[in-house]
């Protein structure tokens, strides 16, 4: 795992350190620490402390476990390479407990008490919205891994997942072209991310693709009764079912579809909320032949991903699966490392400034290549995967690199 700007920066740091050592032999190390940390963060001569904040308990634990595992893997690998600016990364982990106020409380604890230099965490939009004011107030730095609704750009957050337009538009173009789809049925869980995503999808279907939305429906989080929606779908016979049902509801949703005889043989279904993690619960046989749009699939065939999957399984067990968010979480520590080395400092303001230059890139990302846009989001590709019985997806389409646009014009 090497980053492009890494080498030159490292030499520079070495030179700088040499100069200091020559000049002030005895005070060398302490001076360096004073230079790279002027705001009182938890940085010593040989360590730097970061926080990991995901739900380890509660309903979200099943989704968030992969993310925190990936973050720990990345940090372990960085430490094995010698750490950041010569300092090993120490982790303080807190439990968000699937409870949004707890995320706010623990964020404040990490920033105020522990003075961590960065936090890798949050999963749902609600937890991010709860923690965001704390990060802005205490001037912390959060690496947020989930694909999300956009409409946000905070100085104190780096978004390593896709914002809604990146995920949605290319996938819709693909299905319109490949499947000659004209009519769409939209269904999602009832909260901000599915609603915003569907809003963007509807505008794109109606205004750009010239298609028609024949139904739009939202079900409460955790809902397990999809009978009425399935009946309506049968009645409307849409070319594509476009779904953003999240979490445990997916199990009921796909099983009931199958029980109603709606399978991939007769029906195209495109979802933006199912990753390998969810398939583990749903069962591959229940959604065989359906499609997901994501930026990453575990089956992606490139050397970066092979090394990543191997390392992940070595650390967390042969049975572990890696979903889109897990991979995005893995990018967090690497992006932070790149920004810190570019800034030559752990100071939040300097790291943010370095991140906003727009030239931080990871050539070794498992998903391929990503680049950090000045708007704090990543340039990335959208991929369409077709699900197989074994719970893995075959990538059938890969887009060009898409520019992140958290405030899309014409889609609001």
């Amino acid at each position: 795992m090497k980053l492009k700007q890494h080498a030159s920066k490292r030499t520079f740091m070495k030179n700088a350190a040499c100069a200091v050592v020559l000049g002030l032999f005895t005070m060398a190390s302490s001076q360096v620490t004073a230079e790279v940390n002027t705001t009182g963060l938890a940085v010593t001569d040989d360590t730097v402390t970061v926080g990991i904040l995901h739900s380890l308990t509660g309903t979200m634990a099943i989704s968030e476990t992969g993310a925190q595992e990936a973050e720990k893997l990345a940090i372990k690998q960085i430490n094995e390479m010698g750490g950041i600016l010569g300092r090993k990364i120490k982790i303080i982990q807190e439990d968000g407990a699937s409870d949004w106020p707890t995320f706010a409380e623990k964020s404040r604890k990490l920033l105020v008490k522990d003075k961590v230099a960065a936090v890798f965490g949050c999963w749902t939009s609600a937890s991010r919205k709860a923690a965001l004011p704390v990060f802005e107030k205490e001037n912390g730095l959060l690496y947020y891994p989930t694909f999300y609704e956009g409409l946000e750009q905070s100085k104190n957050v780096i978004y390593t997942g896709q914002e809604a337009t990146q995920q949605i538009i290319d996938g819709l173009n693909w299905v319109a072209k490949e499947k000659k789809a004209k009519t769409f049925y939209l269904i999602g869980s009832d909260y901000i991310w599915p609603r915003t995503s569907m809003k963007i999808a509807r505008k794109h279907i109606e205004n750009v693709l010239g298609g028609k939305v024949v139904g739009e429906e939202y079900k409460p989080l955790g809902n397990t009764q999809f009978g009425s929606v399935i009946n309506k779908i049968r009645l409307k016979k849409p070319d594509v079912i476009y779904a953003a049902v999240v979490g445990g509801s997916n199990v009921a949703w796909f099983k009931q579809l199958k029980a109603a005889g709606i399978t991939s043989k007769k029906q195209t279904l495109l979802t933006i909320s199912v990753t390998e993690d969810e398939v583990l619960g749903i069962g591959g046989e229940n959604l065989e032949g359906f499609y997901s749009i994501m930026k990453y699939f575990q089956s992606q065939d490139n050397p970066n991903n092979k090394a990543f999957v191997k390392a992940f399984k070595e650390m967390w067990g042969e049975d572990s699966v890696i979903g889109d968010v897990t991979q995005a979480a893995y990018l967090g520590p690497w992006l932070w490392k790149a920004a810190v080395e570019k800034a030559g400092s752990f100071d939040i303001d300097k790291v943010v400034a370095a991140s906003e230059k727009g030239d931080i890139e990871l050539t070794t990302a498992p998903e391929g290549y990503v680049k950090l846009h000045p708007n704090h989001h990543l340039w990335s590709k959208a991929r369409v995967g077709r699900w197989n019985k074994d719970g893995q997806a075959t990538v059938v389409y890969t887009s060009e690199l898409i520019e992140p646009d958290p405030f899309p014009k014409g889609y609001q």
Binding site: D95, W100, T102, K106, A126, A130, E149, R195
Partner: protein, 381 residues
């Protein structure tokens, strides 16, 4: 005054408990805790409001409400709506397609402020709403239930259902009340930055003083004739009814009082934590409030406060130390309290407290050889 001292404060021992509580929360915590921990304690104390309300309602009234979160939420949301409107000035929200309305409305394609938000531009209205809205709501529920003599388990189930309904309503109407994210990012109160350390200390003290006041109000209620009737109703409802009292009126009244107490806690929560979300309205927080009350001792107004503090301290401490295991430790704590101290913390004090008071008395006799006649009289009494 004598009545106040003897009855309301509960004489010497009652007053001692009250003063210890006041000293702990007003002096000891601010002295020994840094601002981060103090703010956390402030948050815990807001949970003590519904816990105290449950002592009145459940401990003395025998009415188990599993829906106090509803009222906590109503108070909290009222305050959050006011703060959100202030945070959504056209300058702050210039990036939106409709500036000047809260961000979540803009995300849900609303283009103007819904009518029921408009009055919340006034702070006076908001303060009144924090008290009146939950009271009216409680009155409607109470009138519908108690007039029909619905009680016991049925009442508990219905309050729980109401908590679910309200949660579903809030989550479903995200354009109007923020959905599952809640109302977040509250920053100022009349231009005063409520996120500063200074503001947090002030809110902490306001919270303490209001909490002490509701304890006094609670004691006033319990020591009045109404308090005796409440106990009588709990133990033999029919006998009270046959004596010519309209039981339902008393029940409605105490239910309204309890709802107001909870709502005040909710409003203070919003001010101290800076947001409100449906996760304080549903079943889980409502049951947690009953647990605070049970752990503290459901017959003790002050015990309930310690219960809320202990459980929340435990939550924070265990989850910081053992992020993966803390729920098991909390479970162990509940089981231990229920098994060994069925009357809660207050029970421990009542059983073992006299050892301490005895020792204090011994010390007193050693140091002050002659007790004053007044004290001697009291000891007799």
């Amino acid at each position: 005054m004598n009545y106040f001292y003897e009855k309301v404060m509960g004489g010497k021992s009652g007053l001692t408990g009250f003063i210890i509580l006041a000293v702990v929360i007003l002096v000891a915590f601010p002295l020994f805790l840094d601002i981060f921990r103090l703010n956390l304690v402030g948050k815990y104390l807001t949970y003590a409001f519904p816990a105290v309300s449950l002592v009145l309602l459940w401990g003395y009234g025998g009415i188990l409400s599993l829906g106090q979160g509803v009222f906590f939420g109503l108070g909290g949301y009222a305050m959050a709506m006011f703060l959100k409107l202030e945070a959504s000035s056209p300058e702050n929200t210039a990036i939106q397609s409709t500036p000047g309305i809260p961000d979540f409305m803009d995300w849900n394609q609303l283009t103007e402020l819904p009518w029921f938000w408009v009055p919340f531009e006034s702070f006076t209205f908001t303060l009144l709403a924090v008290i009146i809205v939950p009271a009216i709501f409680a009155y409607i529920i109470g009138a519908a239930m108690f007039k029909r003599r619905v009680g016991g388990v049925y009442f508990a189930i219905i309050t729980q259902v109401i908590a679910v309904i309200l949660t579903v309503l809030i989550v479903g109407q995200q354009g109007y009340i923020g959905g599952i994210n809640g109302i977040t990012d509250l920053r100022t109160l009349h231009g005063w930055d409520i996120t500063t350390d200074n503001a947090k200390v002030i809110f902490y003290y306001i919270c303490c003083l209001l909490l002490l006041s509701i304890v006094i109000v609670g004691r006033l209620i319990l020591t009045s004739k109404f308090g005796s009737l409440l106990l009588a109703m709990r133990d033999k409802e029919d006998r009270v009814r046959f004596s010519g009292y309209d039981v339902s009126h008393f029940k409605i009244f105490i239910f309204c009082v309890a709802s107001i107490f909870s709502a005040i806690g909710g409003a203070l929560f919003t001010l101290q934590v800076g947001f409100m979300s449906p996760s304080f309205v549903g079943i889980v927080p409502s049951i947690e409030m009953v647990i605070f009350c049970a752990v503290g001792g459901r017959m003790s107004l002050i015990g309930a406060i310690y219960g809320a503090l202990l459980i929340n301290f435990g939550k924070t401490a265990f989850s910081e130390t053992f992020p993966q295991l803390w729920l098991f430790l909390m479970g162990g704590l509940f089981i231990a309290v229920v098994m060994f101290f069925p009357n809660g913390l207050a029970g421990i004090w009542n059983t073992y407290g006299h050892y301490i008071t005895d020792r204090l008395k011994q010390l007193k006799t050693v140091f002050v050889m002659k007790p004053s006649p007044q004290e001697a009289k009291q000891d007799l009494g």
